[in-house]
C-alpha cells in the first residue's frame, strides 16, 4: 500500500516543519470565570449577553473578539493571515460564519461538534506545513444558552438534569499558527474515525464519546511508537467525569496504561461545587482550556509535551428524537515545546 510522505502508520500525520503557536487567546463566560482557572483567561464576560441583544450575537462577538485578540497578540493584522478556520455548535455554524464576515480573512468553516478545536489545529497545521499558508488563525466557541435552546430545553425551564449530564461551556478560544516564530509547535495529529457503540441518551455524551477517544489514542501511540509517559499531559476535550472513567477503562484494556497525566478539560474547567454534574462540554470547553491554562503552563515551562484529544458527539436533536444512537469522533493533536532538552 502506498503511504503518504507525512503519514505515520494508519491515521497519524507528522509535520516536517511543525507550525508554531505564536499566540493564543480566550474569552469565557461568568461561570467559567468563577471556575478554578478563571484568572487565566484573557477576558471574563460580566454577563452572558456581552452587550448584545441575543445569545447568538453574543457568542459570535465572543468568537470574533477572541480571534482578533489572538491576531493582535501576534503583532500582525487580519490582512496578513492566510486562512481562518473556525467552527461552533449552532446550526449552519452561524457563530463562525458571522465572525468570519467581520474579519475578512479567507475562511473555511468546520464542524466536528466539540472536537472542532482539535480538528482546526490539525488542519491548520497541515495548511502551514504543506506550504499553503504562512499564518492561520483558528478558533471555536460555544455558549451555554445558545446550545441549551438548540439541543435541550428553554433555559428558564425548571428541569432536573441527570448526574452524568454536562454543562456547555460559554467561551471561545483561538490560536494563531505560523510557519516560524516563538512558541510551542504542533508536531503530530491523528485524525479519528467516527465510532458508535449504541449510546442513545443525549444526556450521556461522555460515554458516547469515550470509545472514540480511546480508539484515537490507541491509534496515536500505535502509529508513533511512543508511550503515555512521554507526555506531561494527555487531555481529552469534554468527556466529563463519567466519560473519562470509561475511556480510562477502555485504554487499560487496550494495553495503554495512562496515569495521572490523563485528564479532561470538562472535568477541569469547573469546581465540583459549581454543581454542573459531570463537567463542562462544548466546542469552547477544550478551546478555552487549551488557549488559557494549558498553553500558559507550556509557556511557563510546566509542560513540555501535551496531547489534546478533541472529542465530539455528532448528533442533532432530530436524530435523538428519531431514536438514533450517537456517533462520536476524536482527533489527537500533539503540541510540543521546542528548544532546550
Amino acid at each position: 500500500m502506498l503511504q503518504a510522505a507525512k503519514k505515520l502508520g494508519k491515521q497519524t500525520f507528522k509535520f516536517d516543519n511543525p507550525p508554531v503557536i505564536v499566540s493564543y487567546a480566550s474569552i469565557v463566560g461568568p461561570m467559567e470565570g468563577q471556575g478554578p482557572f478563571g484568572k487565566e483567561f484573557d477576558y471574563v464576560l460580566e454577563d452572558d449577553l456581552f452587550g448584545e441583544k441575543t445569545w447568538e450575537k453574543a457568542e459570535s462577538k465572543m468568537l470574533r473578539e477572541t480571534l482578533k485578540l489572538a491576531v493582535q497578540k501576534a503583532s500582525t493584522s487580519p490582512a496578513e493571515v492566510d486562512f481562518l478556520l473556525a467552527g461552533d455548535l449552532l446550526n449552519q455554524i452561524v457563530t463562525s460564519n458571522f465572525a468570519a464576515r467581520a474579519l475578512g480573512i479567507p475562511f473555511l468553516g468546520l464542524y466536528g461538534a466539540c472536537s472542532t478545536m482539535a480538528e482546526a489545529l490539525a488542519l491548520g497545521a497541515m495548511l502551514v506545513d504543506g506550504g499553503f499558508a504562512e499564518r492561520v488563525v483558528l478558533g471555536t466557541s460555544s455558549h451555554h444558552n445558545t446550545s441549551e435552546r438548540q439541543f435541550r430545553y428553554p433555559t428558564e425551564q425548571g428541569v432536573q438534569r441527570p448526574l452524568w449530564a454536562q454543562w456547555t461551556v460559554t467561551g471561545a478560544g483561538a490560536v494563531l499558527l505560523a510557519r516560524e516564530g516563538k512558541g510551542p509547535a504542533v508536531t503530530r495529529a491523528t485524525v479519528g474515525k467516527v465510532l458508535d457503540l449504541g449510546v442513545k441518551d443525549a444526556n450521556d455524551m461522555g460515554s458516547a464519546m469515550a470509545p472514540a477517544a480511546a480508539d484515537s489514542l490507541l491509534c496515536y501511540f500505535q502509529d508513533t511508537g511512543e508511550e503515555p509517559e512521554d507526555y506531561d499531559l494527555i487531555v481529552t476535550g469534554d468527556l466529563g467525569s463519567l466519560g473519562l472513567k470509561v475511556a480510562r477503562e477502555l485504554l487499560v484494556r487496550g494495553g495503554l496504561a495512562v496515569g495521572e497525566n490523563f485528564t479532561d478539560c470538562g472535568v477541569l474547567v469547573y469546581y465540583p461545587e459549581q454543581d454542573v454534574h459531570a463537567g463542562g462540554s462544548g466546542c469552547g470547553c477544550s478551546a478555552v482550556m487549551l488557549c488559557g491554562p494549558i498553553l500558559k503552563r507550556m509557556e511557563a515551562g510546566n509542560y513540555r509535551r501535551i496531547l489534546l484529544v478533541g472529542t465530539g458527539a455528532l448528533m442533532s436533536p432530530l436524530t435523538v428524537q428519531q431514536g438514533e444512537s450517537i456517533p462520536a469522533l476524536a482527533h489527537v493533536v500533539a503540541i510540543e515545546k521546542k528548544g532546550e532538552g
Binding site: K10, K53, T54, R149, Y153, P154, T155, E156, Q157, G158, V159, Q160, R161, P162, L163, W164, L195, L197, G198, V199, D204, S207, P211, A214, D215, L218, C219, F221, Q222, G225, L242, K245, V246, E249, L250, R253, G254, G255, L256
Partner: protein
C-alpha cells in the same frame, strides 16, 4: 480480518478491547455467558447480532461507572417542594372560599393565582432553580405548566412575536395539551355513555 491482524501491534485496537469486554461480561454474568448467535442467521443478521452484543458489553461497562442518582433525597425533595406548592394552593383556595366564592369558582381562581405565581417566578429566573431541586415536585403542579409556557415565551421572543413566541410558545407544553384534550374527550364519551345508559 487480515487488516485487523496487521494493525495489532503494541496496543489493541478498539474492536479487541470490546471483544475483551464481552468476555469479562460473560465471566461476571455466567447465566448469560457464551451466548452464540442463533443458528441459521444470514451474514447480515449475524453482523447485527454481533454489533448488539458489542453494544451490550459496552453498556455493561458504562453502567458500572455511572453515578447513582440519590433517589431517596430526590423523592423527599420532590415531596417537600410539590407539597409546599400544593399547600400554598390550598391556603389560597381556602381564602377564596372564605371570601364567599363557591367551590368551583374558588378552584378556578386558585388555578389563576398559581399559574400567575409560576409565570412570575419563571420571569424572575427563580423557577428553574426550584425545578433543579424539586424535580417532578415542581413540574407536575400547574405552576410547572406555567413555567414551561413562560420559559418558552422568554426563550423564543427574540425570533419575533409571530414565528418565535407565537409559533413556539407550546413547544414544551404542547404534548400535555394535546394528550390532555384527547383523554378529556375520551373520559367525556365514557361518562356520556354510562350516564345516558342509566
Amino acid at each position: 480480518m487480515d487488516e485487523q491482524k496487521e494493525n495489532r501491534g503494541r496496543y489493541n485496537v478498539l474492536s479487541d478491547v470490546i471483544a475483551r469486554l464481552r468476555m469479562e461480561k460473560d465471566l461476571a454474568e455466567p447465566e448469560l455467558a457464551g451466548q452464540k448467535p442463533p443458528a441459521g442467521l444470514s451474514e447480515q443478521e449475524r453482523q447485527k447480532w454481533e454489533k448488539q452484543a458489542d453494544q451490550e458489553a459496552y453498556r455493561w461497562l458504562v453502567e458500572q461507572h455511572k453515578p447513582k442518582a440519590p433517589v431517596k433525597r430526590n423523592l423527599l425533595l420532590a415531596f417537600l417542594v410539590g407539597g409546599t406548592i400544593c399547600a400554598a394552593g390550598q391556603v389560597i383556595m381556602n381564602y377564596f372560599q372564605g371570601a364567599g366564592l363557591g367551590a368551583k369558582e374558588a378552584a378556578a381562581a386558585t388555578s389563576l393565582v398559581m399559574v400567575f405565581l409560576g409565570a412570575f417566578l419563571t420571569g424572575l429566573g427563580v423557577y428553574d432553580s426550584i425545578g433543579k431541586v424539586g424535580g417532578a415536585g415542581s413540574i407536575v403542579p400547574i405552576t410547572g405548566f406555567a413555567n414551561s409556557i413562560v420559559s418558552s415565551a422568554m426563550e423564543f421572543k427574540r425570533e419575533g412575536y409571530v414565528y418565535g413566541l407565537g409559533a413556539r410558545l407550546f413547544t414544551v407544553a404542547g404534548p400535555v395539551l394535546v394528550y390532555g384534550f384527547i383523554v378529556s374527550v375520551l373520559i367525556g364519551l365514557v361518562t356520556f355513555y354510562f350516564s345516558s345508559g342509566s
